[in-house]
């Protein structure tokens, strides 16, 4: 090969290599979400911005929640090249805000969030730190009971359970068994296995019905609040269900998928199940009901980080556009997550899908709780979850309140150690 051909070949190769290493257009915005079912929603929002930003390219990248959390941790700590809209639970975002990895929202966005006609105080607070608005509220996770009406009718039960004792009775009556007495359809599906803190979160929902709480707040400090009679009541209920009466077992299909396949009669979950069931099991006969005392409410906000000033402005416009009434109504109708914005008429969706009633028509004294915005919250939930998994499967705990209380005390000690290490343990 002569010198001129060789040098041209080398130059071309170098050019291709360089082209391959160039990042996306700096004016693009990227949407990082932890709920893949919202992909179409974000794409619709992006489409609605095409008039104002004809050259804007919006890249929607949702992945599973736990992997999304890891991605955000790595992305924010190493710096984001593109303007990225981050979908984060308020308590999760707090750690990035206090470490100056997420900047306050611009004035126009802040005014939008602080407008009482747009959002109630609860949602404004989750997007605010130290008086500054950092994010735009968009939707929340809120729990309710889902129950199969055909199964309840077949078991001779009228209406859903309204107390935790009734939950146990219903679970026993609704469980279907084979000739050997092994459960084939669980009466009440519980979160019993898997990684992450979801197990602890679901336990907290049940604990809340007994008037208990995982973490007691004392000013700006916290302590473990579950090593007591209320915690014992909640743990006893799980242990009896799994190892005692066996109305549900660890290896049985669980959660929304099991409910849609009629492998469980009832379970507690968020409103996204309505949209999911409409797609996967449209003929399923089911209703929803409020929980006995109240529910978890996990507000999710949109934050912006990275990119040029121009791209960031487009990203913030995206976050605000995501709160336009037509998009929120679409999200409620097609995905099922509950929008946080006030003053939007959701009545058409609720009328067409009465299952949303348990999420919007709430008793006056319904009590919500949320995850506290403290740094070690994930570690507390994850470690407690690991203890719970072992406890649920331990048959020796059945009928043994003293042993169950010891389990809770040992876990509470671990929780308090974590709080102490973070410098927020209450006396």
């Amino acid at each position: 090969m002569n010198k001129s051909i060789r040098s041209r070949a080398l130059t071309s190769a170098a050019g291709l290599l360089l082209a391959g290493t160039l990042t996306a257009n700096a004016e693009d915005i990227v949407i990082w979400g932890g709920f893949p079912e919202l992909t179409e929603y974000y794409e619709r929002v992006a489409e609605s911005l095409s008039g104002k930003y004809p050259d804007l390219n919006v890249v929607v990248e949702p992945i599973g929640l736990r992997d999304h959390e890891k991605r955000v941790a790595l992305g924010l700590s190493s710096g984001l090249d593109n303007a990225t809209v981050l979908e984060l639970i308020g308590s999760t975002a707090n750690r990035y805000i206090v470490n100056d990895l997420i900047q306050p929202a611009p004035d126009n966005v802040s005014a939008f969030v602080k407008d009482d006609s747009n959002f109630e105080a609860f949602f404004q607070e989750t997007a605010t730190v130290g008086g500054l608005v950092y994010g735009v509220p968009v939707f929340r996770g809120q729990g309710a009971l889902f129950y199969n009406t055909d199964m309840l009718a077949a078991a001779g039960l009228e209406g859903p359970p309204t107390t935790m004792d009734e939950y146990d009775e219903y679970a026993a009556k609704l469980t279907q068994r084979d000739s050997d007495g092994n459960p084939t359809v669980s009466g009440w599906s519980l979160r019993l296995s898997g990684g992450g803190g979801g197990i602890a979160e679901k336990f907290w929902i049940n604990l809340h019905q007994y008037g208990g709480t995982l973490l007691e707040q004392d000013g700006d400090k916290y302590r473990a609040g579950y090593a007591n009679e209320k915690g014992l009541a909640a743990l006893r209920q799980y242990v009896n269900a799994v190892s005692g009466l066996k109305t549900v077992t660890v290896e049985m299909p669980a959660d929304a998928a099991a409910f849609q396949r009629e492998q469980t009669a009832m379970f507690i979950r968020e409103s996204w199940v309505i949209g999911d069931t409409a797609k996967k099991a449209p003929d399923l006969n089911y209703k929803t009901a409020v929980l006995p005392r109240g529910s978890i409410a996990l507000p999710v906000n949109l934050y912006v980080s990275g990119g040029s000033e121009k791209a960031q402005a487009a990203a913030w416009d995206f976050a605000v556009a995501a709160n336009q009434p037509e998009h929120l109504v679409w999200m409620l109708d097609n995905v099922g997550w509950l929008p946080n914005r006030s003053g939007v008429d959701y009545s058409g969706v609720v009328a067409a899908k009465p299952q949303f009633g348990a999420f919007v028509d709430l008793p006056e004294d319904y009590v919500f709780f949320t995850l506290p915005s403290i740094e070690p919250i994930n570690e507390i939930l994850t470690r407690f979850a690991a203890q719970l998994v072992d406890a649920y499967a331990d048959e020796s705990l059945v009928g043994n309140d003293a042993a169950m209380l010891e389990v809770l005390k040992a876990s509470a000690e671990e929780t308090n150690t974590i709080l102490k290490r973070a410098g927020i343990l209450a006396d």
């Binding site: 296995s193 898997g194 049985m252």
Partner: protein, 295 residues
């Protein structure tokens, strides 16, 4: 003078390679050692020095001790399965070299090693499924009881050992085959003349002569076993209504501490302990298996 020039030329020639090696191999190890003695939440600019506090805390952490125990059981279990099985399979394949199917056998055994880890683990997750899996269907069909493969604390570890062994077996067979092909034929001919049977030749000739190969395969298998992660993660992946019990292993514990609990220094201390254990075991293996010939 010329010798000196050659010396410096040699140094300059290997310097770029050594620089890359230092950057991708040595620097991360040194940085991990350094981080293990600091407290860092991944996000803050502050990394206060804490000395050996992370290590002290680790040895009182039940989750770390569970992870260490599970990982050790999986690593040694996989090694105990992989080495004898790959040795026997390699012997069988080698002695059937003249068979027209020998290439097929080699390929069939090696395929699991090249299959991507995650989809393979997902396939096995379905196989092990307590309600829908074909393994339990077969057991029930044969008159047995279905087993909770992915939920029972013991069975779930066995499933991971099986999966790790399934994937490393092919590599072990390949290495042993190379070993068999390089064994001196005269030794076996002499043994045959002395009346040794095939099994005796295998046990008293092949196995001792293949000790260097066994050393290599055992080191590689053990290191791979101690780094188990994807199998444990996929078999009990955190989906809604997760189908499996998550077996806590060291790498999973490290990732959880780093990116969920935001304790990077603590996770680095775990990595240092893992490194120390693997180094010690490797040295023990070298001591036991190196330089010992056949009878």
């Amino acid at each position: 003078m010329l010798r000196r020039k050659r010396f410096w030329f040699a140094i300059m020639a290997i310097l770029p390679t050594f620089a890359i090696f230092g950057w991708v191999r040595l620097f991360p190890i040194i940085e991990t050692l350094r981080l293990s003695m600091h407290e860092w939440n991944l996000l803050s600019k502050n990394k206060p020095f804490v000395g050996v506090q992370n290590f002290v805390e680790l040895f009182g952490d039940n989750q770390f001790l569970d992870a260490l125990t599970n990982t050790a059981i999986i690593a040694f279990g996989a090694m105990a399965v992989t080495i004898p099985m790959s040795l026997v399979l390699a012997a069988v394949i080698y002695h059937r070299t003249r068979s027209r199917f020998s290439g097929f056998y080699e390929t069939a055994v090696f395929i699991p090693h090249v299959v991507s880890l995650v989809p393979a683990a997902m396939a096995w997750k379905w196989i092990f499924d307590a309600k829908l899996g074909p393994l339990n269907a077969m057991i029930v069909g044969l008159g047995g009881d279905a087993l909770p493969w992915l939920f029972d604390p013991v069975l779930s570890v066995i499933c991971i050992i099986f999966l790790v062994s399934w994937q490393t077996l092919g590599y072990g067979v390949l290495i042993y085959l190379v070993g068999f092909r390089n064994l001196p034929k005269s030794v076996f001919e002499a043994a045959q003349l002395d009346g040794a049977s095939g099994v005796q030749s295998f046990l008293y000739m092949s196995v001792p002569l293949l000790k260097p190969i066994t050393l290599y395969v055992s080191v590689v298998t053990l290191i791979s076993g101690f780094n188990v992660y994807a199998q444990a993660y996929v078999l009990a992946s955190d989906t809604q209504g997760a189908p499996g019990r998550q077996v806590r292993v060291l790498v999973l514990d490290m990732l959880e501490n780093s990116f969920q609990n935001f304790r990077v220094g603590y996770a680095a201390a775990e990595a240092v302990i893992l490194l120390t254990i693997v180094l010690m075991l490797t040295m023990i293996q070298f001591g036991l298996l190196r330089g010992k010939g056949g009878r």
